[in-house]
C-alpha cells in the first residue's frame, strides 16, 4: 500500500506568506489567552492539597462539602471525577496549618463521616516547592533550546537552528495557549510532555532540513525555493506515517491511561499536530527568509572529501 504518490513537487514555499500568517495569528491568540486567562496550575506549582477519595457507593458531594465546613476548612473544591464514586478534593495552601496537619485533618474528617471512604491518593505540596518548579521548569526549557540550537548550528547552519527554535517555541506556546483557553490543569506531567514535544518537534524539523541539505548537493541548478519544496514533498509520506504512528500510541494513552495521563497525552496530541505543521510550514519559510543557500550550507561538506584525499603516511 502506498498512500502518497506525489509526482510533482508541491509549491509549499509559495504559500509561505499565508502559512506563516496563520501561524502568527494562532501564536498571538495563544499568547492572548495565556495573558488573559493564565494557566490553571495544579498543586505541583501552586502548592496546596489534592485528595482523591473512593466511595463504595455514589458519593454525596454536598455532604462532603458540609464535612469540610464542619472542620473549619474553607475554599475547598469538591468534585466528581472519573465516576460517581470518585471524588477529588482540592485545597489551597493554608498559612496557619502545616501540610501534615492539613492532610490529617481532611482524612480524619472524611473517615469519621463515612467509614467506607478510601483515600486513594493525597498530594500536599508546600508553596516553596512550587516556586522552585517555575525556576527549574524555565531553566530546563532554556537549556533544551540552547542545546538544540547549538547542535543544529554545528551540524547544519545557524539559519536552520534559528528557524527550528522559532518553530519549536511556536508549538510550545500554542500548547500552553490551549491549556489556558480550556483551563485544563497544568501540572508536572504536562510540563514533562511539553519538554518531550520540544524534542519531538525539532526531530521533525531536522528530518526536513536533512533533506534540504541533501537536495542542495544533488540539485545543483535548482533555486532554494525549489530545493525546499522538493525536500518537503519527498518527506511528506514519512512525516505523515510517523505522526500517525506516534499519535496512535498517544491516543492509546489518552484512552487507556486514566486520569493521570490524560492531560499528559492531551499536551502531546496538540504538540504532535502542530509539530507537523510547524516543522514544514513555519521552520522552512523562516529558514528561507533567513537566506539559506547552497553556499552557506555545503561550503563545509564539500571540502571534506578533499581532506580525505590527503595521503596518510604509512
Amino acid at each position: 500500500m502506498e498512500l502518497f504518490r506525489i509526482k510533482k513537487d508541491i509549491p509549499f514555499m509559495s504559500y509561505g506568506r499565508l502559512t506563516t500568517s496563520i501561524s502568527l495569528i494562532t501564536f498571538l491568540l495563544a499568547i492572548f489567552f495565556l495573558l488573559h486567562r493564565g494557566l490553571n496550575y495544579g498543586v505541583d506549582f501552586t502548592g496546596g492539597t489534592v485528595m482523591e477519595v473512593h466511595y463504595p457507593a455514589a458519593a454525596n458531594i454536598e455532604q462532603i462539602r458540609q464535612v469540610m465546613d464542619g472542620v473549619g476548612l474553607k475554599d475547598v473544591t469538591v468534585q466528581n471525577f472519573g465516576s460517581s464514586q470518585d471524588v477529588l478534593i482540592r485545597l489551597p495552601v493554608k498559612k496557619e496549618l502545616s501540610i501534615a496537619q492539613l492532610s490529617e485533618k481532611i482524612s480524619g474528617a472524611l473517615k469519621t463521616a463515612d467509614a467506607g471512604a478510601e483515600i486513594r491518593r493525597v498530594e500536599s505540596v508546600g508553596s516553596q516547592v512550587g516556586e522552585e518548579l517555575y525556576e527549574n521548569g524555565a531553566l530546563a526549557l532554556l537549556l533544551v533550546c540552547a542545546g538544540i540550537m547549538g547542535y543544529l548550528a554545528l551540524r547544519f547552519e545557524w539559519r536552520f537552528a534559528v528557524a527550528a527554535i522559532i518553530a519549536n517555541m511556536h508549538d510550545v506556546i500554542i500548547i500552553l495557549g490551549f491549556f489556558a483557553f480550556f483551563q485544563w490543569e497544568f501540572n508536572l506531567t504536562v510540563l514533562a510532555a511539553i519538554l518531550a514535544v520540544l524534542g519531538y518537534s525539532v526531530n521533525e524539523s531536522v528530518v526536513v532540513f536533512d533533506r534540504v541539505r541533501e537536495n542542495f548537493k544533488k540539485m545543483r541548478k535548482a533555486s532554494a525555493v525549489h530545493v525546499i519544496d522538493n525536500a518537503i514533498t519527498r518527506t511528506m509520506s514519512r512525516t505523515i506515517i510517523t505522526h500517525m504512528m506516534t499519535q496512535t500510541m498517544v491516543c492509546s494513552m489518552l484512552f487507556f491511561g486514566g486520569e493521570t495521563l490524560h492531560n499528559f497525552s492531551l499536551a502531546l496530541t496538540i504538540g504532535i499536530l502542530f509539530g507537523i505543521y510547524s516543522s514544514v510550514l513555519v521552520a522552512c519559510p523562516i529558514a528561507m527568509w533567513l537566506g539559506v543557500s547552497r553556499a552557506n550550507l555545503i561550503g563545509d561538506s564539500e571540502k571534506k572529501p578533499k581532506e580525505e584525499e590527503v595521503p596518510v603516511a604509512p
Binding site: 501540610i99 493525597v122 498530594e123 527549574n136 531536522v206 528530518v207 541533501e214 484512552f255
Partner: protein, 609 residues
C-alpha cells in the same frame, strides 16, 4: 552488499539474549516474605542473625522457601500469607525489640536468574502505593544553635583567662562581646581567635564601648549545615527502622532537604508521628550507695529505692540511676570514635558546649571514683548505653568515654550519641500518598496503553509496509525488550510517567523505521535494483536518524537534569528509549532484512507494499 559479517549477528544475538534474561524477572510476580532488620544502628546484619532466624523457624516448624541476607536485613520467603503472619509472630517473640520484623513482598525470580543479578524493575510509589515525604531542614535554626553554643564557649574561655567583659550576646548568627577598654578587647580577640579558629573577628566601637564581633566563616557555616543534615538523616533512619517498613528510602536532596519514601505504608499519621519524634540523651549519676546485689535484686522485683530509677545496660544488667539529670543530649555538640593514647583502647570522644562543659567539670570533680550513666531515651524506653567510672576531674568540654570493646563499638556508640536528636528542626513541605489499589490500577493502565498502542502500530506497519513493516515491528519489539531489560538492570525507579515514556518511546522509535522504509521505496522508484535500494535506504536514513535522535536526546538530558519526581522518572526512560531505539532501528532491523534478502542471488521484487 546486504550481508552482515558474522560478528554483527553474534553481537545482536548476544544483546538480545541478555535483554531477554534481564526482562524475564518482571513476569514472575512476588511472594509473601518477612523482613528482619536491626532496630538500632549498633546491631549488624550478619551470619549469626541469619542462623538465629533459621533456628527460630525450624523450631516452630514453619516451612520457608528461601532465606537470604541483603544490606537491609534478613529476608524469609514464604509460601503464603498465613505462614507469613505465623513466621512474623514467632520471629517477633524470639528476636525481641532489638530487631524489627516487617511483612514484605519479594520477587519470585528463580535463583539462577538472581545469581546473575536479574531483578524485576523497581516500581515507584505511584505504582505500588506508599507515602513520600519531602522534609526541609531549618538551617537557620542549626546556625542559631551553633552561635548560641559559641556564646557559652566564649564565656567559659574569657572567665578562665580572667578577661573582664560586661556583656555577651548573640545577634542573629553573630556573637558580640562587650568590653570597656580597647586593650581588653584586643586581648580577648587574640585569645578567642586562637581557641576558636572557625570564627572571624572584628573589633568595633570606641570611647569605653568596645566590642568584639565574632561571625562564622563560610566554611564553618557550610560544615555546620552539612553536619546538621547528616545527623538528621541518621536520626530519621533510626526512627523509620522502628516502623518496620520494608525497603524505606531516606535520601538527601539538595543542600537542605531530605526525601523519605515508605513503600506500602498507609498509616500516614503514625509515620508522621514517628518522623517528628525526638529521642533524647541524658547523663545521670549511678546511685553507688544502693548498688549492692541485695538492693538491685529488690529493685528488680519492684522495690526501687526513692529518688532512683532502674534501667538495664546494654548487656541486660540492672543499674540503679539517680533521678536527677546531670546533662541532656542538647549539650553535646559532637561525638566521634577515637583511641586512648595511653593504653590503646577504643574510646568515644564527646564534645560538650560551653555550659555543658562547666557543669560536667563540676560534677566530675565532686564524683571521682563513681560511675556516671549515659542514657538513651527513645520510643518511651530508656537504656543505659554505658556507665564508666570517673577517674578524674574532666574540664574543657572534651569528654572521653572509655570501656569500649573495640573500634566498631566506639563508632556505633558515637553514632548513637549523635543520632539521638535532630540537629535542626524539620518541616514536611511535600507529602504524597498513593493507596495500594491505586498503584495496581496505575500499572494496569500504563501496561494496557503500551500494549494496545503497540498492537495498533504493528498492524498499521505490516499493512502499509508488508514484509518490511514486519521487520520494523520485530525491531520495535526488540526495542521494548531492551528498554525493559535496561530499566531492570539499572534498577531505576519506574513511575507512571515512566510507563508513559515507554509508550512514547515506542511511538517515536518507529520514526526511524518509517524513514528507512520510505527511503528504500524512494530508491526503488528511482529505478535502483532491490539490493542497492536496501543498501542506500539504510545508509541515507542513518544520518537523519542520528541527527533527529541527538536533538531528542538533548531535550531528554535537560529534563533529567532539572526534573524532579515524575519528570525525572519520565526523562530516564525517555533517554534510555532513544538509545535502545537507535540500536534496534539501525542494527536489528538491518540484520533481519539482511537475513531476508541479503543472501538471495536474484530478487525480482521487494515486499515493501
Amino acid at each position: 552488499m546486504n550481508r552482515y559479517p558474522i560478528w554483527k549477528f553474534v553481537l545482536i544475538g548476544t544483546v538480545f539474549i541478555i535483554g531477554l534474561l534481564y526482562t524475564i524477572p518482571n513476569f514472575f510476580g512476588e511472594s509473601p516474605a518477612v523482613q528482619i532488620s536491626p532496630a538500632k544502628s549498633s546491631l549488624k546484619v550478619d551470619q549469626a542473625l541469619l542462623q538465629k532466624v533459621e533456628d527460630t523457624l525450624k523450631l516452630a516448624n514453619i516451612p520457608f522457601d528461601g532465606l537470604f541476607m541483603d544490606a537491609s536485613g534478613v529476608k524469609v520467603r514464604l509460601a503464603n500469607t498465613d505462614t507469613q503472619l505465623l513466621a512474623k509472630d514467632k520471629l517477633v517473640g524470639n528476636l525481641g525489640k532489638d530487631y524489627t520484623v516487617a511483612l514484605n513482598l519479594v520477587p519470585q525470580t528463580p535463583n539462577w536468574l538472581q545469581s546473575i543479578g536479574a531483578k524485576p524493575m523497581y516500581l515507584g510509589l505511584d505504582l505500588r502505593g506508599g507515602v513520600h515525604f519531602l522534609l526541609q531542614v531549618d538551617m537557620k535554626a542549626a546556625l542559631d544553635k551553633a552561635a548560641e553554643s559559641t556564646v557559652g564557649d566564649f564565656r567559659m574561655a574569657l572567665r578562665k583567662e580572667k578577661i573582664n567583659y560586661y556583656g555577651i550576646e548573640r545577634q542573629g548568627q553573630v556573637v558580640v562581646v562587650k568590653f570597656e577598654s580597647e586593650a581588653e578587647a584586643t586581648k580577648a580577640r587574640n585569645l578567642l581567635a586562637k581557641d576558636f579558629s572557625d570564627l572571624t573577628y572584628k573589633i568595633n566601637g570606641g570611647d569605653k564601648d568596645f566590642s568584639v564581633v565574632a561571625s562564622m566563616s563560610v566554611m564553618a557555616q557550610k560544615r555546620i549545615q552539612e553536619f546538621a543534615l547528616k545527623q538528621n538523616l541518621q536520626t530519621l533512619h533510626n526512627r523509620i527502622n522502628e516502623l518496620g517498613v520494608a525497603e524505606p528510602i531516606v535520601q538527601q536532596q539538595g543542600v537542605d532537604r531530605i526525601v523519605v519514601q515508605l513503600p506500602g505504608v498507609q498509616d500516614t499519621a503514625k509515620a508522621k508521628e514517628i518522623l517528628g519524634r525526638t529521642a533524647t540523651l541524658e547523663i545521670r549519676m549511678v546511685d553507688e550507695e544502693k548498688s549492692d546485689m541485695a538492693t538491685l535484686q529488690k529493685a528488680q522485683s519492684g522495690q526501687v529505692p526513692f529518688g532512683d530509677e532502674l534501667f538495664a545496660d546494654r548487656e541486660g544488667r540492672p543499674v540503679l540511676v539517680k533521678k536527677s539529670v546531670v546533662l541532656t543530649g542538647d549539650r553535646i555538640t559532637d561525638a566521634g570514635p577515637g583511641v586512648n593514647g595511653q593504653n590503646g583502647t577504643s574510646v568515644v570522644n564527646v564534645t560538650l558546649d560551653g555550659r555543658g562543659a562547666g557543669i560536667f567539670k563540676n560534677v566530675t570533680r565532686e564524683n571521682v571514683g563513681k560511675r556516671m550513666a549515659i542514657l538513651l531515651i527513645e520510643k518511651g524506653s530508656t537504656e543505659v548505653i554505658t556507665a564508666p567510672v570517673i577517674n578524674e576531674e574532666i574540664g574543657g568540654g572534651r569528654v572521653q568515654i572509655s570501656g569500649m570493646a573495640n573500634a566498631q563499638e566506639a563508632t556505633d556508640i558515637s553514632l548513637l550519641l549523635r543520632a539521638g536528636a535532630l540537629a535542626a528542626p524539620m518541616e514536611i513541605i511535600e507529602e504524597r500518598t498513593v493507596g495500594p489499589s491505586m498503584g495496581e490500577e496505575n500499572i494496569k493502565r500504563g501496561v494496557h496503553s503500551t500494549l494496545w498502542g503497540f498492537a495498533a502500530i504493528a498492524v498499521m506497519m505490516i499493512v502499509y509496509y508488508m514484509a518490511f513493516g514486519g521487520v520494523s515491528v520485530m525491531a520495535l519489539g526488540v526495542n521494548l525488550l531492551l528498554l525493559v531489560a535496561i530499566l531492570s538492570m539499572l534498577q531505576a525507579t519506574l513511575t507512571l510517567p515512566g510507563l508513559a515514556a515507554i509508550a512514547l518511546a515506542l511511538g517515536m522509535a518507529i520514526d526511524a523505521n518509517v524513514l528507512i522504509n520510505e527511503r528504500i521505496r524512494e530508491e526503488l522508484r528511482n529505478g535502483n535494483t532491490p539490493q542497492a535500494s536496501i543498501h542506500a535506504g539504510y545508509d541515507r536514513a542513518f544520518d537523519t536518524i542520528l541527527d533527529s535522535n541527538v536533538t531528542t536526546l538533548i531535550a531528554g538530558l535537560a529534563l533529567f537534569m532539572f526534573g524532579t519526581g515524575p519528570i525525572k522518572g519520565f526523562a530516564v526512560v525517555h533517554v534510555l528509549g532513544i538509545m535502545t531505539s537507535m540500536f534496534s532501528a539501525v542494527l536489528v532491523s538491518r540484520a533481519l532484512v539482511n537475513l531476508l534478502y541479503g543472501y538471495r542471488r536474484k530478487i525480482e521484487h521487494l515486499r515493501i507494499g
